[in-house]
C-alpha cells in the first residue's frame, strides 16, 4: 500500500513539473515574441536602405517611382528636400503628383530640365503628355524595370568611405568626397550661418544601457532646426521626454530617421559610443 501512495505522489510531482515546464515555455515564448517585436529589424542591404516606392496610382502607367535616398543624400542636405522643397517625412503625406512636378514643385523643383548641377542639366520630371516610348520616365518610374536606372549603388559609392554598415556619410562629408548642397535657388532662403549648437550627452532610460553622445551640431547642419523641432522632438525641457529604443523602433524620435534612412538602429556604437558595436 505505501508503494501505491508513493506512486501517486510521484505522478502528482511529475504532472506538477510538467505544468511548471509548460508555464515556463509559455512565458519564454511570450517573452521572445515581444523581444522579436522590440528588437531592431535586420537592416536590408545598404543599396536597398532608404528606398522609397511612390505608388499613388498602383498599376497605372508609367508605373511606380523608386526613390533612392543614397543617391540624393550624396548631393543635398536632408533640410533642402524636407524643408525647402516640402517633402514630408511620412509616406504619402507630401501630396506629390505629376502636376506639382510640372509646376516646379517637389521633384520638379530641381528636375526642371533647366537647372544645372555639377555641370550637368538636371532632366525634367513628368512631361505634359506621357509617352510610353519616352525612356526618360523610366529613370524614376522604374519599379520592376531592369536596367533603366542610371546610377547603381555599387558603382556610385565605390569611392565613398565605408563604415560598419554601407557608406559612412559623415566621414564622406568630412573628407569632402561629398559636398551636400543646402541651398536651391528660388526655393531656399538665404540665412546667416548657423551658430554652433552644443553637443550633449543623454542619459539612457535604463542603468544598464550606455549613455548617448548626441551631436546637435551635426544634426543641425544636415537637418536645420525645423525638421526635428517640434514635430519629432516636441519639447526642449530636459527629462520631460521619455524616449527609448522601443519608441525608436516604432519610428518615433531618433527612429524617425535612424532605421529608415540614417544609419540603422542596430549600429549601437554610433549613438552609444561605449556600447556594443553591432546588434544583428
Amino acid at each position: 500500500m505505501p508503494t501505491s501512495s508513493m506512486q501517486k505522489g510521484k505522478k502528482r510531482n511529475e504532472s506538477g513539473l510538467l505544468l511548471l515546464v509548460l508555464a515556463c515555455e509559455v512565458l519564454l515564448l511570450a517573452h521572445s515574441a515581444s523581444a522579436q517585436i522590440y528588437l531592431p529589424q535586420r537592416a536590408p542591404e545598404p543599396s536597398e536602405y532608404g528606398k522609397v516606392i511612390l505608388d499613388n496610382y498602383t498599376g497605372a502607367e508609367p508605373g511606380s517611382v523608386v526613390f533612392d535616398h543614397w543617391l540624393h543624400r550624396s548631393m543635398f542636405t536632408c533640410r533642402v528636400c524636407h524643408v525647402d522643397v516640402g517633402f514630408a517625412m511620412q509616406a504619402k503625406a507630401t501630396g506629390i503628383n505629376a502636376k506639382t512636378n510640372r509646376e516646379g514643385f517637389h521633384c520638379g523643383a530641381c528636375h526642371d530640365g533647366k537647372r544645372v548641377f555639377e555641370g550637368k542639366t538636371i532632366f525634367a520630371a513628368c512631361s505634359d503628355a506621357f509617352n510610353s516610348n519616352d525612356r526618360r520616365c523610366d529613370r524614376c518610374h522604374s519599379l520592376g524595370k531592369k536596367g533603366v536606372r542610371k546610377y547603381g549603388y555599387k558603382e556610385f559609392t565605390a569611392k565613398f568611405p565605408k563604415g560598419i554598415y554601407g557608406v559612412n556619410w559623415e566621414e564622406a562629408e568630412k573628407s569632402r568626397i561629398i559636398k551636400p548642397v543646402d541651398f536651391v535657388e528660388g526655393l531656399s532662403v538665404k540665412t546667416a550661418k548657423m551658430q554652433n549648437r552644443k553637443d550633449f550627452s543623454v542619459e539612457a532610460a535604463y542603468p544598464w544601457v550606455e549613455p548617448i553622445d548626441f551631436s546637435h551640431e551635426k544634426h543641425a547642419i544636415w537637418n536645420g532646426c525645423e525638421l526635428c523641432h517640434p514635430e519629432i522632438f516636441p519639447t526642449a525641457q530636459k527629462g520631460t521626454m521619455r524616449f527609448s529604443m522601443f519608441s525608436n523602433i516604432e519610428g518615433k524620435y531618433c527612429g524617425a530617421c535612424h532605421g529608415k534612412v540614417a544609419f540603422p538602429l542596430n549600429n549601437c556604437q554610433a549613438c552609444h559610443p561605449r556600447g556594443p558595436l553591432w546588434a544583428p
Binding site: V83, D84, V85, G86, A88, G95, K99, T100, E103, F105, H106, V189, K190, T191, A192, M194, Q195, G224, C225, E226, L227, H229, P230, E231, P234, T235, A236, Q237
Partner: protein
Amino acid sequence: MAFEAKFFKARFWAECPAKFETRLKRTIITVLLFLGLAGLCGVRAVGGPSASASQADAAQESWRTEFYNICGKTEDAMTFSQEELTDLIRRCDSLQPQIEKLDESRKKVYLERLRKCRGLYAYVLDAKRKEKK
C-alpha cells in the same frame, strides 16, 4: 503798299488766334493719341505687364517677401527674445490666409513650410518661457 500791308496785318491778327488755337489743339490731341497708342502697343509688343498683371505680381511678391523674411530666420530662432518670437508667430498667422489663396501646388508646398517654421518659433518660445520659470 503801306495800306495793303496794314490791312493784311490787321486781318491776320483778327483771324489767326482762333484758327491757330483750333489747329494747335487738334495737332496736340492727335500727337498725344498717337503717342499713347504707340506706347500701349509697344509695351504689349515687348511683353510688358499690363496693369492688372503687375498688380497680381506685386501681390504675389509681397507674400513671398514676407514668407522669406519670416522663415529665413529659423536658424537664429534661439537668439530671439520672447517678444520677437511672439511677433514672428503672429506674422506667420497673418500670412497663412494669403498663402491659402494661392494655386493648389503652391499652397501645398508653402503652407507646409509655413507650418514647420511657425512650429519652430512656437517651440523655442515655449522652451524660453519654461526656462524663465
